[in-house]
Amino acid sequence: MSRESMFRRGFSRRAVLAGSAGVAGSLLLPRFAFAEDQPPIGTWPAGSQGDTVNIGVAVPRTGSYAEQGEDELKGWQLAVDHINSGHDLMKQFVPKLDKGLLGKKVALQVADSAAKPNDAVQAQQRFINDNKVVLMTGSTSSAVAVALNHFADQQKVLYLAGISGSNDTTGKDCVRYGFRQNFFGQTAAAALGPVLVEAFGKNRKAAFMTPDYTYGHTVTKSMNDYLTQNAGWTQVTDQVSPLGTQDFSQYLTNIANSGAEFIINVNWGRDAVLSTQQAKQFGLLPQMKLVIPYQIPFLAKNVGADITEGVYAATDFWWTQEDQYPLAKTFVEEFLAQHKYRPEWGAENAYVSFAHWARMVTEAGTYYPPDVIKTYEKGETIPSLLGDVHYRPEDHQCIRPVVIVKGKKASDMKNAEDFWDVVKVVPGEGLMQAPDAFGCKLGSYT
């Protein structure tokens, strides 16, 4: 249609101009409204404008927590593979999952944090600058989790804690941009305490071994508070050692002379392995009973079933739960097929926390961080590998069960990884402290 014929049919130049302006206006209007609703924040919108969104992972691959860090990393990698392939297991968590999230593939950017907060923050800063990551994760030390919590809040980029047992992570150091899936000191103590009292009775004497940072101090406090207040146990000594200690002889010598009946070893990673092995070398084990309030992936493999036999521990997940939970079964099979060993709870926490994030993103229909946060804060009941869970809006802690395990006798093990018997699965709700008990005050969304 020529301009001439158009005007011949009755269109004036003025009408065309007005119509054009109207069309342009109607096109602009939603965009304008969209921009008003979701103004740039953190790495939004730059981080999700391409066909791939990046996630920054700062995980210990060296140092005392390297072995556990590698296990976590495998869990995140499996989750990303499943997100990108639209795997059936991931679809159980993320019903709206396609091959990718909101039409975009997900990629991991990985750095070694060596479990040092400074290294982790620097790595994540680099990922924000270079890759515009839409999500950060990684910690096998709560010192890192707390540092990344605050960093996430400053940068307005979401952060999912990896392994983090400190009460502070979703307590006094909680932030609007941080979430934690796994169990922690308070819930471990509330779940394990009654089992210990039932098994060993009241008025016992315990020596604690505590790593000198937020995880150690809060787990020891929660455990000690429970046992002293509910069963009259006495803490005869608390041996506080720096992260990365190799020779525990002076600590063990103190314990040997303390009159303790129990060693409650809160140390973690290689520190837990070394302190436990050395406790045996010093003849303290099995003379004293060992208790592990916050189970350490690969501890039993490293120290041997002769040491972990009869030992009670609290954990997030143990692979034999595949017999009770269908999702856990698929997860264990998938993981085993890919990595030739059964996943420990670091991998489970990594996988599930990513699955939950993916669900929140698809439910929100956007990567815009405040909207994703608000979707978490709806507190919707969602699946985990151990049944339904939900996130508490007040402190962003996942309300999830705590698993109590007891070390098996070597002769009872059905395979080389069959170290623990699941004694009890304690529902999460009753284990949690009041939302403000540890001083959590979430910040603003923007």
Binding site: G63, D247, T253, Q277, G283
Partner: protein
């Protein structure tokens, strides 16, 4: 936990810890005393000894072979390092020496991480040294008791080499005045190479005999390096007897402070070092000119 039983136990524990520190530190101090090179790769050499021994143990199952292989391997690494790199830095500023040895340490650690990963490895003590021994005032791991004996013997051997052989005489003369030794027609370069090898071997030997106690990881030498520097400063730079005394003092400070509060053990070690530096700037047995 302040009581006599614990005090005696910690005293004994400090002795064992101190002896090991003395052995590692003696290697560091004779290298610095003779060559004037502050070897920041010493902790990595301690680690290399452990890994070389662990590999040997994996193939042979023999602890004795592991100790021999661990020690000799690190001695060879020391000699090659001295010939290939360190000797080019004798006449360069101390900062260059520090940087190159620090870099070497990183290379050694990362090479081991590349080859064997970051996971812990361990060697069990020989069966006849496994278990515990009742000392009356405490029960103590038999291997740690044996370790004390092993280290004392190693220190004696080092003493005999340094004080009862021609090589030792030259080394000690070199510590006092290497230019004069050179002027006397002695091949100082060859001596330097041997000293570096012996110093490294001491670290390697300590690394392998310590493995049944704390297990192995690529970064196992890092805290040891810091402690041995403190020992050398306390004992006096370049002094073999100083390293032995410094090691024992350090071991006792760590253990005895731990009896009151383990959190202050290493703080007290540095307090002691500061006091020594204030009162005797060259260390307990050091002399001016070696620093």
């Amino acid at each position: 936990m302040v009581n006599w039983a614990n005090f005696l136990s910690q005293l004994f524990n400090g002795l064992v810890q101190g002896a090991l520190l003395a052995l590692i530190s003696s290697g560091l101090t004779i290298i610095y005393g003779t060559l004037g090179v502050l070897n920041l790769a010493h902790g990595a050499m301690f680690m290399l000894g452990g890994y070389a021994g662990w590999v040997a143990f994996t193939y042979t199952g023999s602890f004795v072979i592991a100790v021999i292989v661990g020690t000799l391997f690190v001695m060879v690494v020391g000699v090659l390092t001295e010939r290939g790199i360190i000797r080019f830095f004798y006449n360069r500023p101390a900062e260059d020496q520090i940087l190159v040895t620090f870099g070497l340490g990183i290379v050694f650690v990362e090479a081991i991480r590349f080859l064997f990963g970051s996971q812990s490895e361990s060697i069990p003590p020989p069966p006849f040294l496994a278990g515990i021994t009742n000392l009356g005032f405490m029960v103590y791991p038999t291997y740690r008791l044996a370790l004390f004996g092993i280290v004392v013997v190693a220190l004696l051997v080092l003493y005999l080499v340094l004080y009862r052989t021609r090589l030792g005489m030259i080394v000690r003369a070199g510590i006092e005045d290497s230019t004069m030794v050179d002027l006397l027609g002695i091949n100082v370069q060859r001596i330097f190479m041997l000293v570096f090898g012996i110093g490294a071997a001491a670290a390697g030997f300590a690394g392998i005999v310590n493995t049944p106690v704390v297990s192995l990881a690529p970064d196992v030498g890092e805290p040891i390096l810091v402690q041995t520097f403190v020992v050398v400063v306390i004992g006096g730079v370049g002094s073999f007897p100083g390293a032995v005394i410094g090691g024992l003092i350090a071991g006792e400070i760590i253990s005895i402070t731990s009896m009151f509060n383990p959190g202050y053990a290493y703080v007290m070690l540095f307090v002691a070092m500061t006091l020594v530096l204030v009162l005797r700037p060259y260390g307990l047995l050091g002399t001016a000119g070696r620093e």
